[in-house]
Amino acid sequence: MRNRIRAERETRGWTQLALAERLAVSRQTVNAIETGKYDPSLPLAFRLAAVFQTRIEDLFHPDH
């Protein structure tokens, strides 16, 4: 799964730490999602969409 988390975060000038604080997860988790090591659960994906005020389908895209 590809995602636009890093792009959205950097557009806002947020650090991974700042995003992690907003999501109530560890910075390690934000880093894993951004680098594609980990695909978040649906609840966390919804939280990401809420934080970036967008839709899940605008943040995540299938690889194929």
Binding site: E10, S26, R27, Q28, T29, T35, Y38
Partner: protein
């Protein structure tokens, strides 16, 4: 211009942790250290003056006393697992699963050897070392150890 340094994806990245994560880990380490100290404080007199090799019925009670702080340590570790977020749990899982398999294999091996009449001294400790050792080793390899 974003830089690429290992897992870092840009200059906005850092290896710092959130305040919540730091607080939780600090609390875990304080608690596990306290429980470990109490374990040693209980274990020492039990080992040296508990008369565990004697014939008093009290020796059973004395022998089980260190289990109390050990159970507390187990509860602290379980509580720490409940604090982990979803990715951290996923990261920790291989260590726990490997430890379970390792301890079970050690237990079954010792059990079959026992059937042949080979009674190893301190077999319980072999199972413990197999489980804890595997957890430690796999957690180091996966990076999950940093969460504790």
């Amino acid at each position: 211009m974003p830089s690429q340094t290992g897992d870092m994806t840009s200059e906005l990245d850092s290896t710092a942790e959130t305040a919540r994560e730091q607080n939780l880990r600090r609390r875990y380490r304080t608690r596990i250290t306290m429980a470990s100290i109490i374990y040693v404080v209980v274990l020492a007199p039990v080992t040296f003056w508990g008369g565990l090799g004697g014939h008093s019925a009290w020796r059973f009670l004395f022998a089980l006393l260190p289990v109390l702080p050990a159970a507390w340590m187990a509860a602290i570790i379980i509580a720490r697992f409940r604090e982990l977020d979803e990715y951290q749990v996923r990261l920790a899982f291989p260590g726990i699963a490997s430890a379970l398999v390792s301890a079970m294999l050690a237990s079954v091996t010792i059990g079959f050897l026992g059937i042949t009449g080979l009674n190893l001294p301190g077999v319980g400790w072999i199972v413990f070392v197999a489980g804890m050792g595997t957890w430690w080793l796999v957690s180091q390899l996966t990076g999950a150890a940093k969460q504790f």
